[in-house]
């Protein structure tokens, strides 16, 4: 994706096509000849795994949408009829619902890998910021997708999260009304969430293209965190990275299949098997696991506006990392203190929901 391709097709028809649109050359230079550092470890395979998961989610999602009815009276039963009556509908549904969790597991590993090895530092700032944008889009997409089955947790999660925007001074209430399409979460909300849930994955795919483009301009970071100097530092993408990513993907699929086939409801909330009922509030409104650290931030600050600001800044701050971290060394391998703080951050962000949820009442 960077610079003209050296690819020369041998077949005359392909040469003819290549002269008019160098598409094969682009693919060749991006995914075949593209040089990758030879010291990449398996944490680097999660980029490929994420592309695979985006593909899985789009394919299963498009088929699910063929059977789904976005209406408050029918959505819950239409999901159940997919599971019960559509051929392999149960498989599609569990692939898609667990796929969202797998997507987030992979993206968190991918992000923590970037943090650990300093992949956000120059010259990869734009690459990193594009990643933060993808992450934000994923959070929005995942949240709206969770609303679609119209279970109790869908409804009440949507109510709590959309209400957060009312904390914004002056325009908050108008934003919430716009999100709802009315004066409470209802049918217009479900319809617009469905529409956006279908749209955003393609926006993500577009930003992913930019992300890969930026990656191929700057080149990959590597565990040592030093720029490649000679040709001996690199190996061509194919076959080296392709086969390694492929192996990573298959291993990840085993993990994924374990959830889909054996414990498909392990990560879900049982309350979402009860149809949404605006008259009955569940005992505990809990978002999906991948939002819990942010939900914990929200709940641990007594002021609503303060909580919302803190929650969003926790994500936005990621975009500024390249300038917040002034250390010259990229890889935490060679930064003993940063390494320790990295692991404190990993364990801390994983444990935070536990502390907040057990010790404090809901803020909103």
């Amino acid at each position: 994706m960077s610079g003209p391709s050296t690819y020369q097709p041998s077949h005359p028809a392909l040469q003819w096509f290549e002269k008019r649109l160098p598409l094969i050359g682009l693919i060749h230079s991006s995914f075949v000849a593209y040089p990758t550092p030879r010291n990449l470890n398996y944490w680097w395979t999660f980029g490929g795994i994420l592309s695979m998961m985006l593909g899985v989610q789009i394919v299963t999602g498009v088929i699910l949408a063929m059977h789904y009815t976005p209406h408050v009276d029918m959505a819950f039963n239409s999901v159940e009829s997919i599971v019960r009556d559509v051929n392999y509908g149960w498989l599609l549904r569990y692939l898609h619902s667990n796929g969202a969790s797998m997507f987030f597991i992979a993206v968190y590993i991918h992000m923590f890998r970037g943090l650990y090895y300093g992949s956000y530092k120059a010259p990869r700032e734009v690459l990193w910021i594009l990643g933060v944008i993808i992450y934000l889009l994923m959070m929005a997409t995942g949240f709206m997708g969770y609303v679609l089955p119209w279970g109790q947790m869908s409804f009440w999660g949507a109510t709590v999260i959309t209400n957060l925007f009312s904390a914004i001074p002056y325009v908050g209430e108008s934003i919430v009304t716009l999100l709802w399409g009315g004066y409470s979460v209802g049918n217009p909300t479900l319809n617009r969430f469905f529409s956006l849930h279908y749209l955003l994955p393609f926006v993500i795919a577009g930003v992913v293209v930019l992300h890969v483009w930026a990656l191929h301009v700057a080149g990959q970071n590597n565990p040592a965190g030093v720029e490649p100097k000679t040709e001996k530092d690199m190996v061509p993408f194919t076959p080296y990275a392709t086969i390694k990513d492929g192996f990573g993907m298959v291993c990840f699929m085993i993990f994924y299949a374990w959830f889909v086939f054996y414990i498909p409801n392990y990560l879900g909330d049982p309350d979402n098997y009860i149809q949404a009922n605006p008259g009955v509030t569940p005992a505990h409104i809990v978002p999906e696991w991948y939002y819990l650290p942010f939900y914990a931030i929200l709940r641990s600050i007594p002021s609503k506006l303060g909580g919302v600001i803190a929650m969003f800044s926790a994500i936005i701050v990621l975009a500024f990392l390249p300038w917040l971290d002034s250390a010259k060394t990229r890889s935490s391998k060679y930064r003993p203190l940063a390494k320790q703080f990295f692991w404190i951050f990993v364990v801390g962000s994983a444990a935070s929901p536990r502390r907040a949820s057990t010790s404090l009442p809901a803020a909103s």
Binding site: F261, V286, P293, L324, V347, R355
Partner: protein, 309 residues
């Protein structure tokens, strides 16, 4: 929140201690993965644990974990239990509870109670279904068909509440997946490996047998409620639903509440997850395929990289 922020910002002050010798590292084995993986598992566990404790149970004892034929990677429903459970549901539960997502045809589905299509048809035709309008514009009653769903005991929610002292008996179709209890840390991590997914049937089984009459002396029971050990808050509006010998079993199974509870829980697991057997069967095939595929990929990768290390 701010701890998170400061954690992100901390690396700024970190001293630089790099040994910039990359080329010497090529060909060297990577640092041992085990501690890293352990930390990851722990982190993931804590994260999900946060969610679990966030929806902590409202006290009360934990339902005992029973042994279910449908548990585990090779799980299958016990046909006899499904048929007995259906009988208990039909004669007891269905007098108050609806089951809107299940149709008579499902009784003959593979992986279900194992009725033949004719048997399912016979069961369906026992009920009268309001249909219409016909050509004359009138509604009429007809015998049930395979395509009909299980009949609801009440025409609407208000009628159900009026008949049940204000309480609305919930639909039972998904009950076995809609109830839960906290298994706590670290048990839920083991549950990932043991594929424990039977909280719902455990809870239903315990609830059927959890009635205590009279209630403990220090418990103030509201009007029209009954004391149940396993119900969150203990005051349940449903009276003790079943007693010994209430439903006749034709296959010689002892007619005890214990058996009724277990059979009806099995039946409700099937109504909640009718394709459970197909799912686990396909799962085994997929797993075998993926593991073989992973080995092939691993050795291919080794061969490709042989000259690069």
């Amino acid at each position: 929140m701010l701890p998170v922020l400061s954690r992100i910002e901390t690396p700024r002050a970190v001293p630089n201690s790099i040994a910039d010798d990359v080329l010497a590292k090529y060909g060297k084995k990577a640092a041992p993965m085990a501690p890293v993986l352990l930390a990851m598992v722990l982190a993931g566990g804590l994260l999900i644990g946060g969610g679990q404790s966030a929806k902590a149970a409202e006290g009360g004892p934990t339902p005992p974990s029973l042994s279910w034929s449908f548990a585990g990677p090779f799980g299958k429903f016990d046909r006899g239990a499904l048929q007995r459970g259906y009988k208990v549901y039909k004669e007891v539960c269905a007098t108050c509870h609806s089951m809107n997502l299940v149709h008579f045809r499902n009784l003959a589905d593979p992986g279900g109670p194992g009725f033949t299509a004719a048997q399912a048809q016979a069961v369906a035709s026992e009920i009268q279904v309001k249909d219409g309008p016909n050509d004359a514009g009138d509604m009429f009653d007809r015998p049930g068909r395979l395509a009909d769903k299980f009949p609801s005991p009440f025409p609407n929610e208000n009628a159900a509440r009026a008949a049940n002292g204000g309480a609305y008996p919930p639909d039972l179709s998904l009950m076995a997946k809609a109830r839960n209890y906290d298994r706590g840390f670290p048990q839920f991590i083991f549950d990932f490996f043991t594929q424990f997914q039977e909280k719902g049937p455990n809870y239903i089984d315990a609830l059927m047998q959890g009635y205590v009459d009279p209630p403990p002396a220090d418990f103030k029971l509201p009007e029209g409620a009954y004391y149940n050990k396993y119900y969150p808050g203990h005051a349940i509006k449903m009276p003790k639903p079943i007693s010994d010998d209430q439903v006749t079993y034709d296959d010689g199974t002892p007619q005890k509440v214990e058996n009724y509870a277990k059979d009806v829980s099995t039946f409700l697991m099937w109504t909640a997850e009718p394709h459970l057997e197909a799912r686990k069967k396909l799962g085994l095939q997929v797993m075998i395929f993926l593991i073989i595929f992973a080995f092939l990929m691993y050795f291919t990768k080794k061969k490709v990289w042989a000259n690069a290390h």
